[in-house]
């Protein structure tokens, strides 16, 4: 009786662990297969171009809006905070550092994860449940090369560009508030921004963007590719793609920051 109880208990506790390990193995194989197919021919350049436009060009409004308001908020908050210590002049540098190192990469990536990660999972998931992926295979076309590789390469290449755009727009948001609301001299504000600007600020943001771009595309493709069932399966894949990408973005944001700035 006691033996059976212990067996049942261990089975119940062990099942999630086995599932977790098996998913981790599945994901590792998927990553290995995706990376291999990203660097071996044939390359579908037309599809890569289409993905770059989808991920990059069509995300510009979302990234622009997000980063401009983030820059504006940082300018307002830092001004009211620093006013207590008479350090209002530091607003420009705080906006610069916050936007380039953290806000532009993280907020852009989260917005793109919502917009593109979900769309990738839904599109590939629908292709999976309607046998379109099997059809690709029967037409002698490797689905990893045709569907996954262009999305992953586009994610890695385009997100840094989006983040650079977000950097400019975010700093501009801080400038607008600094000059038109807080009464800074425009020339002084621009000068102190340029003086504080260091290569490491931009580099960190770009490195983060590359990693986040990979994570977004990978999670979108993986969840879509593995989706099962019908509409419900595709719905779950979409949710999982966005949630897992968002969590991984925040985790890797910390890890990259630690690598660059820990002393």
């Amino acid at each position: 009786m006691a033996k059976k109880y212990i067996e049942n208990f261990l089975r119940k506790q062990g099942k999630p662990l086995v599932t977790f390990i098996s998913r981790l193995g599945e994901l590792s194989l998927f990553i290995a297969k995706s990376l291999y197919n990203c660097v071996t021919p044939p390359f579908y350049l037309r599809l890569l171009g289409k993905q770059m436009i989808d991920i990059g060009f069509y995300s510009l409004p979302v990234v622009g809006l997000t980063t401009i308001f983030a820059g504006m908020v940082i300018a307002l908050q830092s001004y009211s905070g620093f006013a207590r210590f008479g350090a209002e002049s530091a607003v420009a540098s705080v906006v610069l550092i916050s936007v380039t190192r953290e806000l532009a990469p993280v907020l852009s990536a989260l917005m793109v994860a919502g917009r593109i990660g979900a769309a990738m999972a839904a599109e590939i998931g629908t292709m999976r449940v309607t046998e379109q992926i099997d059809a690709l295979t029967t037409l002698s076309t490797n689905p990893f090369k045709y569907l996954v590789a262009p999305r992953i390469i586009a994610g890695i290449l385009v997100l840094p560009l989006l983040v650079l755009f977000g950097d400019v727009i975010g700093i501009f948001g801080g400038y607008v508030i600094g000059v038109y609301k807080l009464g800074f001299n425009p020339a002084n504000y621009i000068n102190s921004t340029l003086q504080e600007l260091q290569a490491i600020d931009i580099t960190t943001g770009v490195v983060k963007a590359c990693v986040f771009g990979f994570i977004i595309s990978l999670m979108g493709c993986y969840n879509g590719y593995k989706s099962k069932g019908g509409a419900q399966g595709v719905g779950e894949a979409t949710t999982n793609a966005v949630v897992s990408a968002s969590i991984l973005i925040l985790i890797f944001n910390y890890i990259i920051t630690e690598v660059f700035f820990s002393k």
Binding site: M127, T130, E131, Q132, A135, T137, T138, L139, S140, T141
Partner: protein, 254 residues
Amino acid sequence: MSDTKIKITNLKKAFGRKVVLDGVDLDIRKGESLVVIGGSGTGKSVLIKCIQGILVPDAGSIKIDGNEVVGVTEEQKEAMHSKMGMLFQGGALFDSLSVWENVAFGLIENQKMPKKEAKLAAVNVLRQVGLAPDVADLSPSELSGGMQKRVGLARAIATKPEIIFFDEPTTGLDPIMSDVINDLIIESVKGLGATALTITHDMASARKIADRIAMLYKGKIIWQGTVKEMDKTDNPYVCQFIHGSSKGPIKVEV
């Protein structure tokens, strides 16, 4: 030289504890149209997917033209697929591409045919399956179920494959459209001189397109023969299935 195109020996496939194929043995001759019949969930689609390498069997052997296809590399599989065409149950047309791009997919991506030439070829194949050239630029979502099946058939035969698979080709179609699709299948297969493997539970379709019929039950081929032999057989499983009777040895799990 043997005239066997596909030779399946002791093929086994299970999903977890559910055994789907339990030692399938089946030979398909060159140029023959073999129809595999069987109830829903008996593993007919799994059989086709194993032959195509979409699913990996747990055990057994599949030989095409005498060459083993189980356990081959991705590159070898791609080469093998260039000999095959498939009409999927739901069409499986790429909805991001137009009708002609679907039909010409294999020609453009694998045979590297220039797009203009591929479009002309696609329009010709569409004409063969009874579709007007103006359908070519439509999106698959703008087509009816019967038209989607025709486009799927056109895509399957566009590369002139040696082997064509038909997965429930008439499911979801009205009887007249089913007959039209059956005629097109016969024309396409005979026209190309291809070997065809069809899975269906539509007996009218099976009778019309089959040179030979095999019945799959509980993961095994339990009977095979011509249509005439099928009508004369006293095999209780086959008799129950072809007459669509609820009484007999096949128990439906409800």
